[in-house]
Every structure is written in structure tokens, then in C-alpha cells.
Amino acid sequence: MQPIIELKDVWKIYEIGSVKINALQGINIKVNKGEFVSVQGPSGSGKSTALNMLGSLDIPTKGTVYLDGHDISKLTESNLATIRGKKIGFVFQQFNLINTLTAKENVMLPMIFQGVEKEERVKKAEELLKIVDLQDRMDNRPTEMSGGQQQRVAIARALANDPEVILADEPTGNLDSKTGVSVMDFLHKLNKEGKTIIMVTHDEYTAKNADRIEYLVDGEITKTVKK
């Protein structure tokens, strides 16, 4: 089976002045459809860089990233944006909602970029917000909501274009443990419904939700643990 995302000997080297920093040193990760994968590592281990590669937000210095079989370095920024918008839904630690838009408008935004008709956009956004139990907060702005609520809006937004992969960057990092658990429950539920989930976290306990944990230290995968 073709993996949905594959990193093949991926290097990322940042040059700061004359100093070279190897954020990733030839990592290999394969994610198959329907998997729930965690990338766990301490801060400074290259987690965020790895997430950027997995989400095709950045291009490696060396090595290849395949998204659904396409080498992303061969795609133009616009094509990449379209594929990203269709295949991947992002959930960030900081929620990253647009504060000037309401919950419903935030969820509709990815659909606008994919050219979905207005009527369908509204219908889908309302459905998704119902799924994450926010039917009462649809017209509220992010600043009027709690962290847990904002993260649920972000999950609804990530699902807007019905992507195959949900990429979550420390999804519980800014939440208290109880809300964190409920967010994780949502991710589990989505995984059971067939979504591929990739989660990046520094937290061992959160990482254990996954079927497979890739341990990242100093830009290298040191160990892979399967459940």
C-alpha cells in the first residue's frame, strides 16, 4: 500500500550566519492511511521541523517528501497549497484561528480556498461545529471562547475539506488536562472513522494515544514503538 505521507532521508539544515544547524538529520517516516502516529521528542529535537515537512509547509534541504505519491519539491507553491488544503487538516497548539472571523466563518475558510459553493460551505460548517459540540457558539468569535472550545473549532476547521490526514501540533499543549482528554477523544473518534492522524508532542502521556510512536532526538529517529 502506498503511504499517504513519506519522508525519505530528509535533512533540514538552517544556516544562521556561519553556523549550520542540522534540525533534521536524514529521518525516514512512513505514514499509512488510517494510522495514528505520534512524533515525540523533547524541545529542540526537531519536532516542529518534522511537522512542517509532514504537513508540506516547508521543503527539505536534502531528501524527499512524498504527499500521496507526489514529490512536493516538484510542485509549485500554488499546487502545493491546493493539495495541502484538500489532503491535510491542521490543528495547532495555539489554535491559530482568525480572530476577526466567527467560529462558523473560520470553519468555512478552507472551503472558500477550495472553491466550495456558499450554500454547501455554510451547511458543512454547521454540521462540523455540531460534531464538535459547538452548535451554540457558531457566531462567536475565538476571543469569546475558552481554549477547549477554540481547539474544537480548529478541529472542525481541519475537517472542513474532508482531508485524509489530520496533522496535530501539540493539540493539548495549551489546554488543561480535562479538556485535553476530550480533544484527544475527538482525535480517536476521527481515527476510528478512518482519518489518518499525525500528532507531534513532547508529552509521553499524550503520545501514548497513538498506535505508533516515533521518538525524535537531535533530529534523528532513535526508536519506533508500536502498540
Binding site: 500554488s78 497549497a81 491542521f90 482568525i98 478552507p110 480556498f113
Partner: protein
């Protein structure tokens, strides 16, 4: 708040263009209308500063009665008359005011010519005749009377520069509102009452054949050049048909409008730079938002369009405000002009093309100013944009 300040440049520029073009067009229409009253077979000869000065200003080398006598002898004229135009005091029922006095010439033909050229008609009483010394005719404003405490009547005595005159008539309302405040007085009486020398302000000549008017004008110019000892091209006098006078005025107005539009263009340019600056700041502030939008599938084009629309809207709003302010300003000038100068002299005329043009221009400037910031926003790599 910042957006509003940004709009100021666009807003002032557009307001200036809209109001000044409206006032200029109004003035042009008013002047054209006035001169068209005068007829096409007449030449108007005036002394003139080499630069631009209003008629009757003291800095010019004035025409004299001798000049008039010489012009009168030129071939092609049916009748030639001269007028004196002076400002002087007028006193009635213990109120004193200053008015523009215009002399009526001696002969009947000459008198008829001046009446024709100025379209003078009495509304009450009669016009002046030869020998009406110490009698005068007042303009329409005196008939309507918003000048003296008591309304002056036919037969009343009135003091002109301290000399007693009898009112024998009032003029009907004229298309040139300035003429509604004039005083008509026979030439010999005017020289007497105002203690004038032999200078002459305007010489009007009616030609026998309209087709010869340019030849006659040339002959007048030649004669005056000889008498006043000036070379061709350096004339300190003008010989014009009413049409030419309008054209001269229009060409001056064109220059004035061009200068003002030029200044407004600078304001618009500065406004455009202001919009660009605001958009740059906005791109910086919204880096993260741009990153989020890119992460959730926004193409470079979508981001570019978003920012261009925003800057275009800023420009358009500036244009709308500018048009509104421009209209208000022009109307205000019109109202002030009507109250303090003369009714109907300043009329703001709004050309819909100018207004639509101003709005489009505002939008265009906004959009153009947004291009570079929008490109910058669109080109941000998503990872860099997302980094806090």
C-alpha cells in the same frame, strides 16, 4: 484609526479635484453666458497689463479720449463708443454705499451701442438721454432694494460722490449678477462728479460687416501700436471680440485648473504611498494570519487578491469621502459667494464623469499601492509566516 489617517491623502486630493473642477466649470458656464449676450459684431478694446490684471486696474497704461478719436476714424466701424468704469460712493436716506459707475456716451448711436452690448433694459422709469445731466439710472439691486434703509423711487434725489442726482430709472435683472449693482450716468456728469481726467476704460466698436471683423481688429491694433509706441507681440492693450474674450478667460481658467489638479495629483501620490505603507504594516501584523491561511490551503493568488481588494477598498472609500467633501466644499463656496459677492456668480457644476472618474481613480490608486505589499504577503513561506 490608521486606515482613516491613511485615507486622508486620497481624500483631500479627490476633494480638491472634484470641488475645483465643479467651480471652474460653473464659472466657465457663467462667463460664456454673459459674453454671449453681447453679440458677435462688436470689438472690445481695453488697456491691459502685460501680465494678468483685472480691467480698470490702475497699473495699466490707460487708453485716452484721443485714442478713442483715432479708433473712431478707422475704416470698417459703424459706430464706436467708450465707457468709463469707476467705483464711487452713493448716498441715500443717510446710508452710504460704494457702487460701480458706468458712463453712457453722448451720441444716440453710441448710446444704443452700449445699451446693446450690455443688454440694458429699464424695469421702471426710462434710460438716459443726451442732456440728462445730473440724472442717473440704478441697477436692479436698488429697485429690489437690499441696499438702503428706504427704497429709492423715480424722482428721488441721490448723492453720487457728494453731488446731487435725480433717479430716472431702474434696470431690469441681468445675466451678469455684478451688473445688477451698477449706476448708469451720462459721461459729462460722471467726469464732473468724479473729477476724472481724459482716460477711458473700455472702447466698444460695432463693425459694418461681421465678416470684416478680424481686418478691422488688425487695423485697430496697428493704429494703437503706433500711438502707444509698442512692437507687435508686446501690446499693452487688447482688441477682442466677445468670443475671443471668452476664449482668453477660458485659457486662463485652464491653466489655473491644471495647476490645481497638479497639486491634487501630488496629494493623491502621497495618499497612494500612505496606503502602501499601511498595507506593508498590515502584512507584517498579519504574517501569522497569512501563514494560517496558507496552511489551510490558500493559494498565493488568493492571498494576493485579498490584500489587493483591501487596499483597493481603502482607495475607493477615500474616493467616496473625497467626492462627498468636494461637493460639500464646492456648494459651500457657492453659498458664500452668493451671500457675500453676487448672486449667481459662482455656481458649482458637477460633471458625473468627473465624479465617476474620481471614484475609479481612488480605487485604482489603492489597488496600485497595494500591489507590492500584496506580493510580499503572497510570497511569504508558510513556515516563516506561522513562526511567532
Amino acid at each position: 484609526m490608521r486606515s482613516w489617517l491613511t485615507l486622508l491623502g486620497i481624500f483631500i486630493g479627490i476633494a480638491a479635484v472634484v470641488s475645483l473642477v465643479a467651480l471652474g466649470d460653473g464659472l466657465r458656464a457663467a462667463i460664456t453666458e454673459q459674453f454671449s449676450d453681447a453679440g458677435t459684431d462688436k470689438l472690445i478694446i481695453q488697456a491691459q497689463n502685460v501680465g494678468f490684471a483685472p480691467p480698470g486696474s490702475t497699473a495699466v497704461n490707460k487708453l485716452t479720449v484721443d485714442d478713442y478719436e483715432a479708433i473712431k476714424k478707422i475704416r470698417g466701424f459703424k459706430v464706436v463708443a467708450y465707457r468709463l468704469l469707476r467705483s464711487s460712493s452713493l448716498e441715500f436716506s443717510d446710508t452710504k454705499t460704494f457702487s460701480f459707475f458706468i458712463s453712457m456716451p453722448e451720441g444716440n448711436e453710441e448710446r444704443k451701442l452700449v445699451e446693446d452690448a450690455m443688454s440694458l433694459e429699464p424695469i421702471d422709469g426710462r434710460m438716459l438721454k443726451t442732456g440728462d445731466k445730473y440724472k442717473l439710472v440704478l441697477g436692479y439691486n436698488f429697485f429690489k432694494n437690499d441696499i438702503f434703509d428706504k427704497k429709492p423711487k423715480i424722482g428721488n434725489k441721490i448723492l453720487a460722490n457728494g453731488m446731487e442726482f435725480e433717479i430716472i430709472g431702474f434696470l431690469d435683472k441681468m445675466s451678469n449678477p455684478q451688473f445688477n449693482g451698477i449706476v448708469l450716468i451720462n459721461e459729462d456728469a460722471m467726469v464732473d462728479a468724479l473729477a476724472l481726467d481724459d482716460s477711458v476704460d473700455i472702447i466698444t466698436g460695432q463693425v459694418i460687416n461681421v465678416n470684416d471683423i478680424d481686418d478691422v481688429a488688425e487695423r485697430v491694433k496697428k493704429e494703437l501700436r503706433k500711438r502707444r509706441d509698442v512692437d507687435e507681440g508686446e501690446e499693452d492693450f487688447s482688441v477682442e471680440t466677445p468670443q475671443q474674450a471668452v476664449e482668453t478667460f477660458n485659457s486662463i481658467l485652464d491653466v489655473v485648473q491644471a495647476v490645481i489638479v497638479g497639486i491634487a495629483a501630488i496629494s493623491l501620490l502621497v495618499g497612494g504611498i500612505g496606503i502602501a505603507n499601511t498595507m506593508f504594516t498590515s502584512v507584517l501584523e498579519r504574517r501569522k494570519e497569512i501563514g494560517i491561511m496558507k496552511a489551510i490551503g490558500a493559494r498565493n493568488n488568493s492571498i494576493m487578491t485579498l490584500f489587493l481588494l483591501e487596499s483597493g477598498t481603502l482607495g475607493l472609500v477615500g474616493g467616496v469621502l473625497g467626492v462627498v467633501l468636494g461637493i460639500i466644499f464646492a456648494k459651500l463656496v457657492e453659498i458664500i459667494g452668493n451671500n457675500f459677492l453676487a448672486e449667481g456668480l459662482i455656481v458649482a457644476r458637477f460633471n458625473p464623469l468627473v465624479i465617476i472618474g474620481a471614484l475609479l481613480f481612488g480605487f485604482l490608486i489603492g489597488t496600485l499601492s497595494g500591489i507590492i505589499p500584496a506580493r510580499q504577503a503572497a510570497g511569504l513561506p508558510p513556515v516563516d509566516a506561522l513562526r511567532k
